[in-house]
Structures are given as structure tokens and as C-alpha cells.
Symmetry: C2
Subunit: 119 residues, 2 copies
């Protein structure tokens, strides 16, 4: 199962949700896929994206993606097709916080219309 899920994610150019992955396989159990994704994430094979759609999306980590706070990238969520893209070329910005606040992680999600839906 893990091999199948990993292969599926590798051939995507967008991040997939648990439900979407579920739909790609005819007879796969939701909880198995759920735990597979959790395992992948813990082992830094994939990273999760909270695009605000209510469903967490997952994408494979590229070579450059060590998921360090210093090298996080932005994500794009298309409001039409609901697809979520990794903007690996768009690093999250430096943020000047009020005094006393410390940063662990930055989530930058851009919402709009993707190139495929722009016709």
C-alpha cells in the first residue's frame, strides 16, 4: 500500500488529500491510507499542506525540501478546481514579529485561479 501511495504522489504536480487518494484506489481502507500518510510525514518523505480547504493535502518532499523552518515554500490553492500546488520557488517571507514572539513555522497560502482554470 505504501508503495502504491508513494508512486501516486510522485506522479502528481499537485498535493493530494486523503479523500482524493482514497478515490484513486478502488479497495483501500481510509485508515490505512491515513496511517500511511502519517508515517510518510513523520519520516519526512512527504509534507502536509493546510490550504484552508478543510482537507489537509500531501506532497512528496523534493531534494531541497528538508522541511526546515528556514526553507519553507508557499502553496497555491485554486478556488476553481481546488487543486493545491507547491510553489517551491516561492520561499516564505521573513516576518518581523512584535517583541517577545518567536517563530517555529510559517504557513503561506495564496488563493486564486490556476493556469489550467484560466481560460
Amino acid at each position: 500500500m505504501r508503495e502504491l501511495v508513494l508512486d501516486l504522489l510522485l506522479e502528481q504536480n499537485v498535493a493530494l488529500s486523503l479523500s482524493e487518494i482514497e478515490d484513486k484506489f478502488d479497495q483501500a481502507d481510509r485508515s490505512t491510507l491515513y496511517r500511511t500518510l502519517k508515517t510518510f510525514e513523520e519520516n519526512k518523505v512527504i509534507h502536509s499542506v493546510d490550504d484552508g480547504s478543510g482537507m489537509i493535502k500531501y506532497a512528496v518532499c523534493k531534494d531541497t525540501c528538508s522541511c526546515n523552518p528556514s526553507e519553507l515554500h508557499a502553496h497555491f490553492h485554486c478556488v476553481k478546481c481546488k487543486k493545491t500546488y507547491c510553489l517551491t520557488d516561492v520561499p516564505v517571507p521573513e516576518v518581523n514579529l512584535p517583541h517577545g514572539f518567536s517563530i517555529d513555522y510559517v504557513n503561506l497560502v495564496v488563493k486564486g485561479v490556476c493556469v489550467n482554470c484560466r481560460k
Copy 2:
């Protein structure tokens, strides 16, 4: 009810979730509060924040907050106390998207430890 909710939100320096608002009142119905928040949001009295905690937070719009895409601000979510602050001084950055992508909205959430939890 609306007056009470608005007063509550006005005296906060953080954004509140529906559940948190529910807890502040002893005998208020969840759906009433829910619809109150929706009404406020539609009328641009408050704005919602998706901080990735799973609960949408709400905060009153300040004078400068017209909720235009051009003047959105970042938000800070404390991983310890779970409070979410409006960083009204931190505008969301310009983002250079791949060709063909258009921007509707940008969500920038910084996670870390807030000044109160930093002791």
C-alpha cells in the same frame, strides 16, 4: 446576542473561535452564535482567520481593515496557549506566481510562542 458578541470581541486582543465564544456565555446556542458570526463577517464587521488549528477564529476589523486583498495582514498562532493574534502591522507579502496564476487572497500564518507564554 449580537451586541454581547460584538462587545466580547471588541475587548479581546486575540481572535476567538466559535467554541471559545460559546464558552464565554452560559446559555447561548451554538447555532445562534454561528449565524451571528456569519452575519458580522458578511457585513465586514469582523474577519475570520484560518490559523490551521482546525477552528476558525474571528476578530473585529479595525479602521484600517477593509479586508481588501491589498491590505491583508498576517496572523500569529501560539502553539502553547493556542491564542491567535492579528499582526495588523505585518502586511502579507507580494508573491510572484508562476505565469498564468492569479491572486485572489493571501493567508499568512506564523506559528510560534507568544510573548505571554515566553517565560
